[in-house]
Symmetry: C2
Subunit: 382 residues, 2 copies
């Protein structure tokens, strides 16, 4: 080979949000796998109601402190084993003593959001109408935390699947609200500010535009008869280069150019939206629509309830105008599977010690996801 | 409670090497675990030689391209499925086109290091005399890559255990040598430079001193009769505060103040040593000694072959004098287990989206590791 080919040659790509690099080694998928295989998730076989589940309606909770109401769509409550609490003593400062022993107290609140009374489904099985109350619950908890002067950041997330550390298969997510802006979102704000400083614009508005342009170009090139090699062309002009998975008028779902996890995606608001609570009715419906469609594609990829960690990045609730201006609503989906329902990618060794690394290109991943159907592989549950 | 207690109240600690925060929620260990449990590793039952293992002496390799020699201690070869390669076409620059599509070509070499011909053991089962050849192999590959003008960084690491993505249980590690200095080590060099700029000293030399001081103070306080509360005292003066696991005259093993993984440790050279190849004979023997003792403690903690990802950070091989002066040899051990041989900590959800998080304090982890024996729980294999 005399030409550099992104599908065969090692390269690293820069993640401008986290300000870090990811090594991409596309030829590596050929290596044989003799390592660990997951036993497939038994989610398909779960009952609609499980009397031993502490999230099902009417059941006692984990610590026996409360009984769940007979809820009909979503249900939110304070985590019985919270990582952070609203009330704890002050920490006298002693970081000064030694710069290597730097520590801060962290106050906050942790909530659990049940997505549905049904024990046997996930977001991917729900209609967009059923997803709407989940979005409303996210908006309400964010707005209530926003009024709390001790809370400056609200992290909404979901761990789906045992392989992603989910401790209960009942469809649910979490909300950890903290005094400090955590490392990840804080770094994103720094990156967004630097980009604005340099270009005057919003990085994520520009990124949406970039991905739509690439997609449009890819579609028009594909429709022409072209036998010229594309290996030396800029990736942005590569006809194989579209990273868009699906879209609607308010949101775009892409495998980001700098994706780390094999089938990582980002869900981006097409316009500059600082927080979910700023959405109008159409945007809300569009969000429910695209969440259903993309989680359904995920499930269809390996014909399994596709595990992931997902989270929402939006404006911090610290009341700082500059942060609110910088923030651009987006969701990150980090799914661990690589080859099948049972073979995952391990981000270990080199990844932990040196640099993130992936085996298939983001463009290959996007192609596979965009080839998936938006009708769920299982017969509808209801 | 009116006093802040590090064993009960949430706080975040700063990692000055990676320049990031970790949330510590010590009270959270009480939450019930209904999530995933690992099936225990069958490592105890492995045969000394496995005819289907592509790393055992005399066997054919994965791609059938070669046959392993009848090696007696260690054996190094080029990875048959390398993540990076020495020869690949140049990548024309097109990053300029769009700052959001930033990419670089990465050249390099990948090696596999078998630690022993025995299929059924791990570093924890080996004597320090048997570990010495492993250290020599690490030194030799580093020195040979150092002579290669296309290689600027050598990342030595080991994934131990199926749960850490190890694709073959035969005791082995890897070496990925690259043109670029990867993200993690690059960030460490930046942090070390900033610390030097500010204080004039080496961060890791100072950290060794800090941990030895804390340990000494803890020991002397423990030997006095003390009934005063320690909750408001600086952590550095907390009698429960020692984070040292074990030590010898050349190396110190600590659970770092900013540890992320439950039983994460750092192995630090006590003096300012830039690379393993600068060690004298005593230091080499001390390294073999402490590697045996700490991996043995790990195995004894939950009476299992303790899984981890481990890696060595030392001077880059780019010939830059400033980097060589800054580098201070250390090993990171990132083990996933939290409660037992089968219950791991998942760094998912909040951790991936917002900030690293841990459930037991580094001081509690250090206490448990330092209480472990240095005689392996299994009868010696040989
Ligand atoms: O190289 P191996 O052992 O096949 O693979 C293992 O280590 C690599 C380097 O840390 C990781 O990228 C892989 O995900 C892991 O399974
Ligand atoms: O809170 P859960 O569901 O009990 O626990 C899960 O999510 C948390 C937040 O991402 C993680 O810290 C835990 O490791 C994981 O098992």
């Amino acid at each position: 080979a005399t030409h550099f080919d992104f599908n065969h040659h090692s390269h690293r790509r820069f993640n401008p949000l986290s300000s870090s690099w990811v090594l991409c080694s596309p030829h590596r998928t050929q290596r044989p796998w003799q390592g660990k295989e997951e036993v497939e998730d038994a989610a398909n076989q779960r009952p609609a109601y499980d009397s031993s589940c502490y999230l099902c309606p009417g059941n006692k909770r984990a610590n026996n402190s409360a009984t769940n109401p007979d809820y009909k769509d979503t249900f939110i409550f304070e985590n019985d084993f919270p990582a952070v609490r609203q009330n704890q003593p002050n920490l006298g400062s002693f970081s000064d003593t030694n710069p290597l022993l730097k520590v801060e107290s962290v106050r906050g609140q942790c909530h659990v959001v049940c997505f549905s009374p049904r024990h046997d489904i996930t977001l991917a099985d729900m209609t967009s109408n059923e997803i709407l109350p989940v979005i409303d619950t996210w908006i309400n908890i964010y707005e209530s935390m926003r009024k709390n002067p001790d809370i400056n950041h609200v992290q909404i997330f979901e761990n789906k699947g045992a392989i992603m550390g989910c401790s209960n298969p009942h469809p649910h997510g979490q909300v950890w609200s903290t005094q400090d802006i955590p490392q990840g979102p804080a770094q994103e704000l720094v990156s967004l500010a630097q980009y604005k400083e340099k270009t005057g614009g919003c990085m994520l508005c520009d990124y949406v535009k970039t991905e739509v342009d690439v997609m449009t170009k890819a579609a028009s090139t594909a429709s022409q008869d072209s036998d010229t090699t594309t290996a030396t062309k800029p990736l942005a002009e590569n006809p194989e280069g579209s990273r868009v998975v699906c879209e609607n008028s308010s949101f775009l779902c892409v495998v980001p150019f700098w994706a780390t996890w094999p089938f990582e995606t980002m869900l981006l608001a097409r316009t500059h939206l600082s927080r979910l609570s700023d959405m109008n009715e159409t945007q809300k419906e569009d969000l429910a629509d695209i969440l259903r469609r993309m989680t359904c594609r995920y499930d269809n990829l390996f014909k399994c309830p596709f595990p992931y960690s997902m989270g929402i990045h939006q404006a911090p609730t610290n009341g700082v105008q500059e942060h609110e201006d910088l923030a651009h609503v987006h969701f990150h989906f980090y799914p661990p599977l690589l080859r099948s329902a049972t073979v995952q990618k391990f981000l270990v060794g080199f990844e932990l010690l040196a640099q993130a690394q992936r085996d298939i290109t983001p463009e290959q991943a996007a192609k596979r996801l965009s080839d998936c159907s938006e009708v769920h592989y299982k017969a509808p549950v209801k």
